[in-house]
């Protein structure tokens, strides 16, 4: 896959809150499908579908244990995608922190006028 197309698959996979929660769980170590399904009031097939999307995006892989087939995080791919999003996020968070300060200032002025 080309880099751009690959990254797109990764971003699409990360767009879903359940899949992000699965990845969050996997940062703590590998887990079987049953273990991953447990916290989500979701059927195993539904979870398996999410896992397939994550696998196709290269974000997770399967461990060696043939019976449990534990999934584990592919941190490198995740880091590649999050690096971009995080840079973008930081840029805007900088702006929005200035906006916080400005809004605070405007509200203080308004309060002064009211009293």
């Amino acid at each position: 896959m080309q880099a751009a197309a690959r990254l797109d698959t990764t971003f699409a996979a990360l767009a879903d809150p359940t899949r992000r929660a699965i990845l969050a769980r996997l940062t703590a170590g590998e887990a079987s499908v049953t273990e991953l399904a447990a916290p989500f009031r979701m059927s195993q097939p539904a979870i398996s579908k999410h896992l397939k999307v994550l696998e196709r995006a290269g974000l997770i892989s399967r461990g060696r244990d043939a019976q449990r087939r534990p999934r584990r995080l592919e941190a490198k791919r995740l880091a590649e995608a999050t690096r971009w999003l995080e840079r973008y996020r930081r840029f805007w968070e900088g702006n929005y922190q200035r906006l916080d300060a400005l809004l605070e200032e405007l509200q203080t002025k308004e309060r002064k006028w009211e009293t």
Partner: protein
């Protein structure tokens, strides 16, 4: 209030969500009154916004120019307002002078107030996936090293029922 969330719900979009501890009217003003926009929409340290012109009506244009106060580099952009519903919704196009991404972007700002706080959702829609990815890649030249810390920060936004 912090905790800006950035997501990519489709291959042509970037969505930002953030809560501000202020009524919607003020957040709206801060996005539409030039003297206020200039105070915060600045980017990295060392940049100022010498030009900020806003003609706030449907079909009206806006023009922003930023300047790097160190080396004098300027970066300009502008567009047209497509939809204005004060104080809750603004839709406008955007195009940069340097055209560092292909085509035009369309930004939709939505403000929802609840209990004196305002949730801002800003959606940027680009003409292609290439354009969207170019925007996400911008600023990557500094090549910040990946770390598990930042990864955890991003993932912390996931709903946890663990």
């Amino acid at each position: 209030m912090g905790n800006l969330k950035v997501t990519t719900p489709s291959d042509r979009e970037i969505v930002m969500t953030r809560v501000f501890d202020a009524p919607r009217k003020l957040v709206y003003d801060a996005h539409t009154k030039p003297e206020l926009v200039k105070r915060w929409l600045l980017g990295p340290p060392g940049w100022s916004m010498p030009v900020c012109e806003i003609n706030l009506r449907v079909g009206g244009t806006y023009r922003y120019v930023w300047r790097n106060d160190g080396d004098g580099t300027e970066m300009g952009m502008g567009g047209v307002y497509r939809e204005i519903r004060a104080p809750e919704r603004v839709v406008n196009t955007e195009r940069f002078d340097q055209a560092w991404y292909p085509g035009e972007g369309v930004g939709t700002l939505v403000l929802v107030e609840q209990g004196g706080r305002t949730t801002l959702t800003h959606t940027m829609l680009y003409e292609s996936r290439e354009a969207r990815d170019a925007v996400l890649k911008s600023g990557m030249e500094q090549g910040v090293a990946a770390s598990y810390d930042r990864l955890a920060e991003l993932l912390a936004s996931a709903p946890r029922k663990l």
